[in-house]
């Protein structure tokens, strides 16, 4: 079977150039034109992800994390949205420069996306088999019958019980967890190099969340794919991610390997996020919450966008925008893969 031969091949290839990132985002700017003015949703984001690596992008809603993902996939609503500046390198090639038709061919076979709400992300009027099989029919010109066989295989793959009898069912006939598995199956169908999962478990029950997350992680390992996991849930991230980028108001405010970040956040916003996770050992204490609301992107505050909410904000925070800079140990040694956009990053890290 073709499927088995490719699965055997591809990981080897990928293993070959694991040093070069699958995807690299450079200085990405995304804007939305609205009646009230131009909304700058993403303002110079940089990140990369390699084969087999998981990058978690963290942030509140409106922080620009989903928009970045949509820009990568090329599914921004445009108009009004557009990439104003920047590069998105997929295996070294700037895909923003590709003609739409070329770019389309990447989607599915090379990169795929998993959406937050599988119920609305699956077309309600087509059977799941149809929607899964569509990947094979469109990209590989497979016949309807063969595509259906593949669809059943995929459903088995993501552990949907009785796949054969359910392949003709419609999305609304599945439970939330099962639907998300179908989304995952659809993303995996053509074994892409990169998967972007946009809050894949947010809409699910807690018990199901872990199952789906585990499944995703297993499959990622198995296929050695790059994974961008977009979430606002720090709990989810800890187990699966290799590195984390924290976004706030369209910028990355902190970047770090996962455990480093948990141990020692280098940005007050990250600190706030971590503190707001309920912990068993602090039962009975009042839960921490970051005060205030995310900024209005139409009129972002001057200086650091987080300053109105920051407990440690100083005058400089209100006037000068802090760039994303390398974070060092107290002795000055650079911390690999760590950066923070805070005027007082060192204090935050060590204090």
């Amino acid at each position: 079977m073709t499927a088995s031969s490719t699965t055997a091949d591809v990981p080897r290839q990928r293993g070959g150039d694991s040093e070069a990132p699958v995807l690299e985002v450079r200085d990405l700017h995304v804007e939305f034109a609205t009646r009230e003015g131009v909304v700058k949703a993403v303002n110079g984001v940089n990140y990369s992800v390699s084969s087999g690596e998981t990058l978690a992008v963290l942030g509140e809603s409106g922080s620009g994390k989903s928009v970045t993902a949509q820009a990568i996939m090329g599914i921004l609503d445009s108009p009004p949205g557009r990439v104003a500046k920047g590069e998105i390198l997929f295996r070294g090639q700037d895909i923003l420069k590709l003609p739409e038709n070329e770019r389309r061919k990447l989607r599915g076979p090379k990169m795929a996306m998993i959406f937050q709400d599988a119920l609305s992300a699956l077309n309600p009027v087509f059977s799941v088999g149809n929607q899964l099989g569509e990947m094979f029919r469109v990209h590989q010109g497979m016949s309807k019958k063969d595509a259906k066989v593949k669809a059943i295989e995929l459903m088995d793959r993501v552990k949907i019980p009785a796949a054969k009898s359910r392949v003709d069912d419609y999305p609304h006939q599945f439970s939330g967890g099962m639907r998300q598995r179908i989304m995952i199956a659809m993303a995996l169908a053509l074994e892409p190099d990169l998967i972007i999962a946009d809050e894949p478990t947010t809409a699910l029950d807690v018990t199901v969340q872990a199952q789906v997350m585990d499944l995703l992680a297993d499959l990622q390992r198995e296929y050695n794919m790059g994974l961008i996991l977009i979430t606002h849930d720090l709990g989810v991230v800890a187990d699966v991610a290799d590195k984390i980028a924290v976004m706030y108001a369209g910028r990355i405010v902190e970047q770090a390997p996962v455990h480093e970040l948990y141990k020692r956040p280098a940005h007050p916003y990250t600190r706030g996020l971590l503190d707001s996770i309920p912990r068993l050992d602090q039962k009975g204490q009042e839960l921490y919450a970051i005060k205030g609301l995310p900024p209005n992107l139409l009129k972002a505050p001057s200086g650091c966008a987080f300053n109105p909410r920051c407990p440690k904000a100083q005058d400089i925070c209100r006037t000068e925008m802090p760039p994303l800079l390398q974070v060092t140990e107290q002795d000055g040694t650079e911390l690999a893969g760590r950066a923070s956009a805070c005027h007082f990053r060192e204090e935050q890290l060590h204090g």
């Binding site: 939305f32 009646r35 809603s61 609301l293 992107l297």
Partner: protein, 309 residues
Amino acid sequence: MTELTKSTSVAGDATAPAQAANAEAEPAVARVTQWGEIRHRFLANKLAVVGLGLVLLLFLTAAFAPLIAPQDPLAQDLNNTLQEPGNGHLLGTDALGRDQFSRIIYGTRIAVEIGLASIFLACLIGIVIGALAGYFGRATDSVLMRIADVFFAFPLLIGAIVIIIAMGRGVMPVIISLAVFSWPTVSRLLRSSILSVREADYVLAARALGADTRRIILRHIIPNSIAAVMAYAAFSVGGAIVAEASLSFLGVGVSPEVPEWGNMLAAAKDFMGVKDFLWTYPSIAIVLTVLGFVFVGDGLRDALDPKLR
């Protein structure tokens, strides 16, 4: 559901970031400011304002018809029949030498009278029956809704003709016949919005706080359902005016001697190609009036429920 103009719909476009930004900046729905909000959104809609202008013009013309009309709309002048526009008659004269401009001006009265009265009556019946059905549910609901189905099943014009057969021509029969076949839409609207509002959080909250049912209906359910009814009503007044003119055009509306646009068109029909001014001007009057109500209805609907755009 549908969009009207560029200006109004852009706001609805707020994609992820802007939406998030706006939504969170205005927490929950501040019910106190709702009406102000609606007015604001309505007035921001250019077509709606144009429509409002047309409707106001219609009302004013109807109210001050005797002052505006240069002549008695019934005064005949058999020596000056079928005069082309001009020569002392701005829009010409009809087959009995009556001043067409004055007749069109007076025609606003019938249009306003029938349009408003029939829809008001329809809303009244519809709200009562819809509220009863939605509130009591079960047997009451199914009986009332079957009755509504019966009336709903008559195409408006055809049903209206049947009633007019029984009642004879005239203003009152037209009003009644239009109302009788329009109310089911209102009651369905009200019933379904009651059913959905009944489970809405703030109603559950009110119930949890121990508010009694009647209070809930009057204070929470009706005001929230009325919005949809109002938009429907504004839109339907235009429809009722068209229906009323259609009935007259078919020779079953108000009495032929009444200065009314449909009557004028019916009388002018045979002059097609000979005296075209006889039907063009009443047509323009009808179109402007209906457009006015359509614009207002659209604008109201959009303002009341921006989601629907």
